[in-house]
Symmetry: C2
Subunit: 304 residues, 2 copies
Amino acid sequence: MSETRPRIGFVGLGIMGRPMVRNLMRAGYDVTVHDVNRAAVDELVAEGAHAGESARGVAAATDVFISMVPDSPDAEAVYGGPGGAFEAARPGWLAIDMSSISPTVARSLAERATAAGAQMLDAPVSGGDKGAIAGTLSIMVGGDAAAFERAQPILQAMGKTIVHCGGPGAGQVVKVCNQVVVALVIQAVSEGLVLGAKAGVNPERIVEVLQGGLASTRVLEMRQTNMLGGHFDPGFRVRLHLKDLANALALARDAGVVLPATALVEQQMEALKVAGRADLDHSSLITILEDLAHYSVANGAIER
Amino acid sequence: MSETRPRIGFVGLGIMGRPMVRNLMRAGYDVTVHDVNRAAVDELVAEGAHAGESARGVAAATDVFISMVPDSPDAEAVYGGPGGAFEAARPGWLAIDMSSISPTVARSLAERATAAGAQMLDAPVSGGDKGAIAGTLSIMVGGDAAAFERAQPILQAMGKTIVHCGGPGAGQVVKVCNQVVVALVIQAVSEGLVLGAKAGVNPERIVEVLQGGLASTRVLEMRQTNMLGGHFDPGFRVRLHLKDLANALALARDAGVVLPATALVEQQMEALKVAGRADLDHSSLITILEDLAHYSVANGAIER
């Protein structure tokens, strides 16, 4: 298999997938794309991509197959469903699932790829649509070292920090850990801000002190404008973070780990969904505490 | 009141108070000290301090009175008890309580000082004994602006980042917010680390990914050696952090704020105390999750 320039297949052309395909083309790769949304396919074909009729068709026509879909059932369908990519799996074929899905599902997909003589990596990302557009995603990779080496130049076209986390599923495990920490840190700074503000202190002074010492977090650095201003345009949607926390709690059950604060914060995020805020930025987690306190950090007392 | 070089009184010569007095003397201040521990007084007298017989005696002999004691009841005794500093309160006298105590108690002490025609600031610190020795403490100040201006040069002899947070009690409010955020962030990174490690990923890879993105925290930067190595020499003792969380929950009740994660993490810290770990560093919070998972990030499976 000569692969100085492998042909790439890409399935899943959403807000993340489209700019990732563009960065692959910019790096000189020939890319064949597929999505149930025909408009997204047409958009990229107009920019130089080829169109595939199904995941199976894309997989058959290319050397390296990349997927970027919303959730575990979507990934199972893309790979294992009728017309799925695994119908074209063969020795020498490499699949890279960059979706954020259940680590257990990722391991099961990797086993099936290996059984067909192919290679598979799980390679979820962080950095959002901005990182996808800029080609600066962080990519967490699970799978064997040879497959990781083969994927490196391709991943480098889409991301900046690329970490080989371990064997199959390890990328998804680390992604889930990352999302647990981000959710709990949002809750942490929210509790501090609502307490201090309702107790009468200017929230900007609180931020100044927190960020000057051991309490300092990237979350408050990046989201203080949202949280102090009461504006929660996404950003990273509550709906997606809830999915990640569900994956975390499922992994915890599988692994035999107890996560009391993750369980609590998952329920706080469920409360956001109940309140109709699932499409706001995840920093809107502070609004549940604000509702409970009848007090908004941005606007003062809340009447109902 | 000529105060180009005010005489300073200092009560509370513990692990924090002693180096703070040394930094005041190094800056050229004449300092009179008192503590129930006579050895601590003698130590500082040998280095050039004067000895006072009581808080009242120290307050009467000096222009600016500083206290650094463990908790609210200690501060109430130093100021309001028999032989307390308020017995010498007078117009022009300035009291600065640098202890970390209840914001409600701090406000009540400030009211009594004001009623005697004196000035009072609450000015709790962060940065620990290392910051006290180096003179690099962060100091959060509550009280009126004139008193803050008067205290500035004195505080600068002991700290680096000095923030005027608002009126009486505001320094203690912000300190409590800071401690809430630190505790919850320790819990956050602990849940991520125990989950990922027991699910089979090298914890150093997890730290690498977390610190490279939105999950990045100063807590993990400063405490990763403790948490990955299973060594928890203080540092900042669980016992003291528990006191701060009790102050946070009391303030929340007073202010009408609901703090579900703080309540949960306070109970996790109580579990540390029950387990006999109250004098370990607060990063030992991870050990409660490790006990629940029967798995240590540093050493693998825990048998019992």
